[in-house]
Amino acid sequence: MTDSIPNKGVTFWPVGNGDSTTISISEQVKIQIDLHHMVAAEDDDEEYYPVVDHLTEGLPKIDGTPYLSVFALTHPDKDHIQGFDKLLEQATIGELWLTPRIFIDEELSKEAEDFFNEADRRLKLAIKNNGQLESGDRIRIFGYNTILDDKKFNGFPEELLTLPGDELSLVDGKDMSGEFSAFIHSPFKAEEEEDRNDSSLGMQITLGDEEDNIKVLIFGDLAHEGLRKLIDISKANDNEDKLEWNILLAPHHCSKSIMYTKDENDNNVFQQEMMDDLANYCLDTGYIISSSKSVPSSNKKGDNPPHVIAKDRYEEIVSNDFLCTHNEESEDAEPIVFEKTDDGLSLNGEHISNTSCKDLGASISEARSSGTPPTNTAGFGVL
């Protein structure tokens, strides 16, 4: 098998219905986006993938301790943060990226609490040190600047706040321009009583320089309304190139809520425009990843994601393939690893080639033909 964590690339870990994505910028610089550590359960049928173990194994070491440059949390749902305590215990996390939501949310899970504690520690330190932080203490908040008016953030240095529309190349204090940048799309200003999913951090990550790069879109658990708004804002601001993608992590574990809304009778209403937009921003090499259990062949009403109709719609627009972190056929879960190499992109060690290929016309003639007489002899007889 190939390295789960390449020098430069993206790793989608098979963590069931949850997100765990590792962005590799260089040998030394890794960003982990969300975490869904799955411990061994008593029930053997339950899927099991101790992602923290695999991750820390692949991380660079500083003084013998695994070093993770950034941990980014899109939103504080359990399936995006489970195992953070273990990670924090086993590795040095240079910088935390988060949205303000964790500080506002009143119903955090136990797993999110662990993250909150660490974030809160760093927040207070940042205020105290006026932003002068060392690796291991760093924090960066993504959101809207009105939070600075909030008492909790009073004194939080503005340079540690990144707003939607900003582009970021600073990773744990290092300027990674030319190798990495993240264009921040969301969250926008929080609506009152907004669903947690809708507050997700959304971004376009570019690995490589302007000429030669791969682009990854990550939107957490955004649903149609949020993504629609995000796209419309980008269009209005002439930022459509910030929506281009080679890899799209299907929001909310391949939920249909991205391209279907509900009418008054609770029926699905297909939002063609959303798929048209996603299709238009899909680059020549394009993959959609569903970080979820394998997509069933059908869903019942009210089923949680992944949804087969979402998969259907994605398959229709994606340049190359729709991939799921789990599939029924293989027993051992393996991560999906994209590596950016000098001559392009490889998927699980295989070079992705878009160059063809036999002439289709000739292939069709071959397929159509009723065959040629055998070139070897064939014996027939009674005995």
Binding site: A279, C282, E315, L360, R368
Partner: protein, 779 residues
């Protein structure tokens, strides 16, 4: 459950997939819903080999397509769409994402080839689309999809070419006519604010820029689009207002929108028209507005005026908003504009009759079908001449209906033809034509003769011969064709004359008869058209009708008329000289026979007879002269017999063959005594062979050194011949070739028995009436 056809489709796609390496992929077969007869399949084509031009479809390395396969595949063809809008606006992409692979699926879809052919076609579509070369320059553009119009709305037939205009748009009105509940015709265009003479008005917007291929469904969207192109909704409103004003209340209101999406690529484009039916609610709102405007003209008092003004503004707002919010209800549009329609008979022999003015003589078994062909082929002006009425018996094989019985055929036929094409000009005449040739417009010698062609379908010897006689004096400025049908309706004959002059129908029939009777493999034609009396199947369709006629069905008529009109159409285009075709219902049994008629040497005699020399006769005469005996330095006279036909009705003499000097003749420098040896046998054979068309008609001899004037001896000779057996032919011809040894001239004389007198002792003397003409004819 997939049908077996759908399974076949999947299997074929998978075969292509495995043959193609990475070029083609079956991404997925969608789960099928129970109530659906359709199966959807997602496939991927590797397009990295397809190079795009800047104006072509920009293809990704891999493109995905959803195929929609019906359960009765391959007996219905699949459709294909894409799930993105990147192809929108390209030709052959309909409704944003549906690809139009076939212009004419019924003929282009290869059932047996199934998915192989389909994917090949899709690939080809992509290759062409990438280069924007779906339509090569000069090929017709694929017009936008014909959107299914609302079923309860009438179809609109566009009868008139759209006005041409400069600038971004043309605003005005269409003149429409309600034909019936299901049909409205658009018959004209106007920009002036006046009520049309007949019909009603509809507002029109013609644009000079393309509309997006997908026409809007909401009026609001429509107005948004046209505002982008510079036409204000207010203007549409104003046009609607004026239309409502001049139309009566019951008349529906239509809005016609056109954009230049038809035509030939890189050439002039033409308007593609859509007709929107404005709903009752909106129409009524506009009507209210008009009523307000009407009230405003009444002066009651200031308060009244103020109220009406207020009401009027409200009404305007209402009608504007009704106009904007209305659902688009498209009428189905049927094109009949010549600028955008190519005739379905384009490049066929029928085109020869297009835009022609044609006189049709005879509206019977042949003519009634011929007329219908002419009208369908696009003839613009017909005159129908027939002097008979429709009787019950003819319905078996003539193009009439029960209701026509008792009417003049020409009038019944006219009605039928006008139902086929109301635009054709049709005149009728039930006079007997043969007695009134000099009054027929189509036979005018004038250059302004409006007719291009006369088709004689009378099959009447009477008409033929009368015309032959009439044409001796005139040369009408028109072409002529004549059709007859054989006695058993198994073959037809037609003659075509690019210009009408002496030597017309009867002449051609006579020549054809001689040829047919003399040619071995034409026996069946000879029997059909010139049966021996014993062969002739005389049949009387109705008691009391004595006209000999033929047996034949409507099938026979349609086949033969069809074949005749096909060949005649070709002749009209290319034939330079007179000709006759004989053709059979079963070409495999009897080959078509074609005879090009050579032009005779025509000599008019003083008494109005016309002599027509077959050119072969002249050649033969010169051959005989060249063999003339010599006596010392002197050339002896020579001569022989003339064979042909004298028709005293039309007063025409055909000289078709000669005989040289019989063996017992005497040739001297000054005298030729014509013998008789073998002449009787020759005559009877010739006469039998040609059924009387070629027989003895007179004598010929040379005057080697003197003029072609009959000498006294010549006269006595003729008198002697004519009274020899006591019962002479009514008239005989004498041909003298004067100065035959050097500079020949032809003197042709006709002698009648009445020219002979008995003088003195019973000697016969020919009284020379100078009934002859001398012509010079080159060797």
């Amino acid at each position: 459950m997939h049908s077996s056809g759908q399974d076949k489709a999947i299997a074929q796609l998978k075969r292509i997939e495995s043959a193609s390496d990475t070029g083609f992929r079956v991404v997925k077969v969608y789960a099928q819903t129970e109530d659906s007869s359709y199966l959807f399949i997602l496939v991927e084509i590797n397009c990295s080999n397809i190079k795009s031009s800047t104006d072509g479809l920009q293809l990704k390395s891999r493109e995905k397509f959803v195929l929609r396969v019906r359960d009765n595949f391959p007996f219905s063809y699949p459709t294909v769409y894409v799930s993105h809008n990147r192809f929108n606006g390209f030709s052959h992409v309909q409704w944003v994402r549906h690809l139009c692979l076939y212009l004419s699926p019924l003929t282009e879809w290869n059932i047996s080839d199934g998915m192989y052919g389909y994917i090949e076609r899709l690939h080809q579509w992509l290759v062409r689309g990438a280069k924007n070369s779906h339509e090569l320059d000069g090929q017709p553009l694929h017009p936008p999809a014909v959107y299914p119009g609302s079923k309860d709305l009438p179809s609109v037939i566009i009868r008139n070419d759209t006005p041409s205009f400069e600038g971004p748009f043309w605003l005005g009105f269409a003149v429409m006519e309600n034909i019936n509940e299901k049909r409205v015709d658009l018959v004209g265009w106007q920009q002036g604010l006046q009520k049309p003479v007949s019909g009603f008005l509809s507002p029109v917007i013609l644009l000079s820029e393309n509309f997006p291929f997908e026409y809007p469904n909401k009026a609001e969207d429509l107005f948004k689009q046209i505002e982008l192109l510079g036409v204000k909704t207010e203007t549409v409103h104003a046009l609607s207002l004026f239309s409502s004003l001049v139309n009566n209340n019951e008349t529906p209101l239509y809005l016609i929108v056109g954009s230049p999406m038809r035509g030939i690529k890189h050439q002039k484009t033409f308007q593609h028209l859509s007709v929107w039916s404005i709903d009752e609610l909106t129409k009524n709102a506009i009507g209210m507005e008009i009523q307000c405007a009407d009230l405003l003209t009444k002066k009651v008092d200031d308060e009244f005026t103020a109220n009406v003004k207020k009401l009027s503004i409200e009404c305007k707002e209402q009608s504007m908003s009704a106009l904007k919010s209305a659902d688009m209800r498209w009428c189905s549009v049927q094109e009949d504009r010549s600028e955008v329609t190519i005739r379905r008979d384009n490049n066929t022999s029928a085109n020869a009759y297009s835009n022609k003015a044609i006189a049709l003589w005879g509206c019977g078994a042949l003519g009634s079908y011929i007329a219908e062909i002419l009208v369908r082929s696009g003839a613009t002006h017909l005159i129908l001449r027939d002097n008979k009425k429709v009787t019950p018996g003819i319905l078996v094989r003539q193009n009439y209906e029960d209701a026509d019985i008792g009417n003049w055929k020409c009038d019944s036929l006219k009605n039928r033809l006008l139902r086929i094409n109301p635009k054709v000009t049709i005149e009728t005449d039930n006079d007997d034509i043969s007695s009134s040739f000099n009054t027929l417009a189509e036979l005018s010698e004038d250059e302004s003769n409006p007719y291009d062609l006369i088709i004689d379908a009378t099959a009447s010897n009477f008409v033929h011969l009368s015309l032959e006689e009439y044409l001796k004096g005139v040369t009408p400025n028109v072409a002529l064709a004549s059709v007859i049908i054989g006695a058993k309706a198994s073959s037809a004959l037609f003659s075509y004359f690019p210009s009408v002059k002496s030597g017309a129908i009867s002449d051609a029939l006579r020549k054809s008869k001689i040829k047919a009777l003399k040619t071995k493999n034409m026996g069946n034609y000879a029997k059909e058209f010139w049966p021996n009396q014993a062969d002739f199947l005389n049949f009387q369709p109705e008691p009391g009708c004595s006209d000999p006629t033929f047996i034949g069905s409507s099938i026979d008529m349609m086949i033969l008329v069809g074949r005749v009109m096909d060949l005649l159409g070709k002749s009209l285009v290319s034939a330079k000289s007179s000709s006759t075709h004989m053709l059979s219902k079963n070409p495999s049994e009897d080959k078509d026979f074609f005879l090009e008629h050579s032009e005779d040497l025509i000599v008019d005699l003083p008494d109005n007879y016309q002599v027509r020399f077959d050119r072969k006769v002249i050649k033969d005469i010169y051959k005989v002269i060249s063999k003339s005996k010599r006596s010392g330095k002197k050339v002896c006279e020579t001569g022989g017999l003339l064979f042909g036909q004298i028709d005293h009705a039309s007063e025409i003499v055909w000289i078709t063959e000669i005989m040289g000097p019989p063996k017992d003749s005497i040739s001297l420098p000054e005298k030729f005594v014509c013998g008789t040896k073998g002449t009787k046998e020759f005559n009877s054979q010739s006469s039998i062979k040609t059924q009387g068309s070629v027989h003895y008609i007179g004598m010929w001899h040379t005057h080697p050194v003197s003029s072609a004037v009959p000498s006294f001896i010549d006269m006595q000779g003729m008198a002697g011949i004519m009274c020899n057996d006591g019962f002479a032919a009514e008239s005989q011809m004498l041909l003298i070739i004067g100065h035959s040894s050097k500079n020949p001239e032809f003197g042709i004389y006709q002698f009648s028995t009445s020219d002979i007198q008995s003088i003195n002792s019973g000697e016969l003397e020919m009284k020379f009436k100078h009934n002859g003409t001398i012509v010079k004819e080159k060797k």
